[in-house]
């Protein structure tokens, strides 16, 4: 055996031994009974988990709702055990869970449930539809009576938390976070940390974790480094990890990177009422000019998924089964522009019509640019449009100004996120001419009487399959008219250290704290 071979075999031997030892250590750690490991975790967030309405219900689970939405965004019993809706779709009878107490000892019953729902309708009018009155049937049954049918009612209950009457002052302000959830608030330092301890009297059984500390770390890079250094155990929440940071964490064997399709999806919006986008051919030309695949690849580093209808795949049953939109065919795009009367007469690469060049500005809201790579996306679209002879400018404006410009009709083209809390309202909020419930998102961009009729009918139609057919037709009209261009749905990225078990991501970033536990010390 030559010296070289000896050295190689020695090195291989050492490597083999050390891997065995490493295996032993790991195994020992795993075998350690969970009871001996302190059941405490520290999670990093990019926002303060306490707002004006108390501890964030989805991030902290301090509060619970009558109805929860599962990982497929389907309604499941929460503090309500079952429910029925009347024939006319106006009266909902809700049966409540018995034996549940708020953290302050107040019993949860028909009276407190009514109180919470009434508070929710006062602070968020319209959230639960047009409620006429709430009646107490018995200790654990309430009746919610609407003045007209509101089909997404069950889902909207997910956004109304059950809160102890002692937690609210006469101005409807939350003075203390008193809910019924598996964890209760122990300490809160504004914009720093929120400490939760388990609720020993939780109706759903004793949670495994004894204490949770949620740390607000505003800087994304610091969050990543805190996780790498083991100072925090997990990064949760939407936007917690930026796509560009994911590869660093993936390379770290002590960290597991998780992704899930969220409820937020993004599209190009047009002002379809004024030139140049009042002509369907120009809108169609834009959709042929762009390539959503490359947006996902380059702007999102792959952390997104191309969409082909305005309904996100999360609501599978509500998504039109056909691929409605067509993309990436620059020749077709040029042909359509020509048909619409646009041609490059002076040879400068920009098409003209009636002596005017095709110049358009894409306005982006400052607040959204900070949360999604809208600028990069806009730049890619800009270069795509340049290839078919359209000169596009990009203008990032303050969010307040953006909304004002939208209302005034000063925005011709933009990028918009849609967060669909329910398929019915997501579609109505986006395409109904009056903007539906979401003033924040829907621009008064399009007005199509048939779409108005269909979305209104869907809101009242309590039968899902019938409502789905109504919304299919809306999707067909939207695609045929190219009222918007769906770009992608985003992949939410979270990460946990390898000694944390049981965390499941949820599209509406609900954290399943009661299932999470620690298997070994860091």
């Amino acid at each position: 055996m030559s010296i070289n071979k000896k050295i190689i075999s020695l090195v291989v031997g050492i490597l083999f031994l050390s891997s065995l030892l490493a295996g032993c250590v790991e195994q020992q750690a795993d075998e350690q009974p969970a009871a001996q490991v302190p059941q405490e975790v520290v999670a990093g967030l990019g926002r303060d988990p306490v707002g004006a309405r108390g501890a964030h219900p989805y991030l902290t689970r301090v509060f619970e709702q009558l109805v929860i939405l599962d990982a497929e965004m389907k309604p499941r019993p929460g503090l309500a055990t079952s429910w029925e809706v009347s024939e006319d779709g106006r009266t909902w009878t809700i049966h409540l869970r018995e034996g549940v107490k708020f953290h302050d000892g107040t019993p949860f019953n028909a009276e407190t449930a009514k109180f919470s729902l009434e508070w929710a309708t006062r602070v968020r009018p319209g959230l639960l539809g047009s409620i006429d009155r709430i009646e107490i049937v018995d200790d654990y049954t309430i009746k919610v009576i609407h003045s007209e049918p509101h089909a997404p009612f069950l889902r909207s209950l997910f956004f109304a938390v059950m809160i102890s009457p002692n937690a609210i002052d006469e101005d409807d302000r939350v003075i203390e976070s008193i809910g019924t959830g598996p964890f209760k608030v122990e300490d809160y330092q504004p914009e720093d940390k929120l400490v939760l301890v388990r609720n020993e009297a939780y109706w759903g059984g004793l949670p495994k974790l004894e204490r949770i500390t949620l740390r607000y770390i505003p800087e994304a890079t610091t969050r990543i480094m805190a996780l790498e250094a083991g100072e925090i155990d997990m990064i949760i929440d939407t936007g917690g990890i930026l796509p560009e940071h994911a590869p660093v964490l993936k390379a770290n064997p002590e960290i597991e990177v998780m992704t899930i399709h969220g409820v937020v999806h993004h599209h190009i919006g047009f002002d379809t009422t004024t030139p140049p986008f009042d002509d369907v051919r120009t809108r169609k030309a834009i959709s042929y000019a762009i390539d959503p695949e490359s947006l996902v690849r380059y702007a999102l580093e792959g952390y997104g998924k191309v969409m082909n209808t305005p309904v996100p795949p999360l609501y599978k049953d509500w998504m039109h089964p056909d691929l409605l939109f067509e993309f990436s065919d620059k020749d077709k795009a040029r042909k359509l522009l020509q048909e619409a009367g646009w041609a490059d007469m002076d040879g400068d690469g920009i098409v003209e019509k009636d002596g005017e060049e095709f110049k358009v500005t894409m306005h982006l809201a400052g607040g959204w640019v900070g949360r999604w790579p809208y600028k990069t996306i806009a730049e890619i679209i800009q270069s795509d449009l340049r290839e078919i002879g359209i000169a596009m400018d990009i203008d990032v404006v303050d969010t307040g100004l953006y909304r004002e410009m939208m209302e005034r009709g000063d925005v011709k083209m933009t990028l918009i996120p849609i967060a669909g809390v329910s398929p019915r309202s997501a579609v109505k909020d986006t395409f109904h001419s009056e903007g539906g419930m979401t003033v924040a998102i829907n621009p008064p961009f399009f007005s199509n009487p048939r779409v108005d009729e269909l979305t209104e009918a869907a809101m009242k139609e309590t039968d899902d399959s019938r409502a789905q057919r109504l919304l299919f037709e809306v999707q067909e009209i939207v695609a045929a008219e190219v009222l918007m261009i769906p770009l992608f749905e985003e992949l939410m990225i979270n990460a946990v250290r390898d000694n944390i078990r049981g965390y499941e991501m949820h599209p509406w970033f609900v954290v399943n704290w009661e299932d999470i536990h620690v298997v070994s010390e860091k």
Binding site: P125, E191, M225
Partner: protein, 312 residues
Amino acid sequence: MLTYVLRRLGLMVFIMLGVSVITFSMMHLVPGDPAEVIAMERYGEEITAETIEHVRRELGLDQPIYVQYSRWLSNVLHGDLGYSHRTDRPVLDEILTRLPATIQLALAGMLVSLIIAIPVGTISATRQYSAADNISMFGALLGVSMPNFWLGLLLIMFFSVHLGWLPVFGRGSIEHLILPAVTLGTGMAAITTRLIRSSILEVLGQDYIRTARAKGLKEKVVIYKHTLKNAMIPVVTIVGLQFASLLEGAVIVEVIFAWPGIGRLLVDSIFARDFMLIQGCILFIAAMFVLVNLLVDISYAYLDPKIRYEVK
């Protein structure tokens, strides 16, 4: 001296009044509907026009601007800075809970910068154009040019992630203070070093220093007793101003190290358009600034008897 201080305090009232008018009108000149912003902040993005009107009435935003201002001012004079729209907590509480963190970081940053700046500045001035001088001036240039966020992240990467010696973020023990204070202090030290150097050089050229040397005093005594004290007056002004600006919060350092200070409070409230909180913060910061300036002026009197005489 007392009348001087009282006069300055009286002037402060007018300055604060001016600041309040300017901030208040600026808040109302920026585009966007405050009622809508607040409603969204409170109730999420799924809000109706009804909710917005409800919020507008509740906060009195439907009143003419001068009514809003006089109401706000009278509340402020009664010690009520209003409520933060974002957290629904009193603005004064929000500011006061962050004040200790801000003062702690400001003092620690100051300390780091002085520990570096005084010896380095003195050495480079007394050995002008030597290798030590060149190195320290190059260091100062580096310190000034290095952006805080870059240095901060680099320090975290090295000392926290790789070596595991110091915590990455947050406020708590003394260890938590080291990295933010060093990050903050380094940039400041660079400016102060150069200032101390030039100030000492100027004093060294004075006649009384020549006299001191001619008397046969030891160089040590000349430097420590005669030069340093006289060179400190411009330094105190700048350091005082630096400290005052630190009390506004070292925004970048606070964001990087998740330090719960006033700077972050202000920036977050600007992003969230938390009008009451922005007004409160600016008023508070202005008051701090004026106050620290006053303290700096008073401290001159102790450093330089000539100024004390003039004040009288």
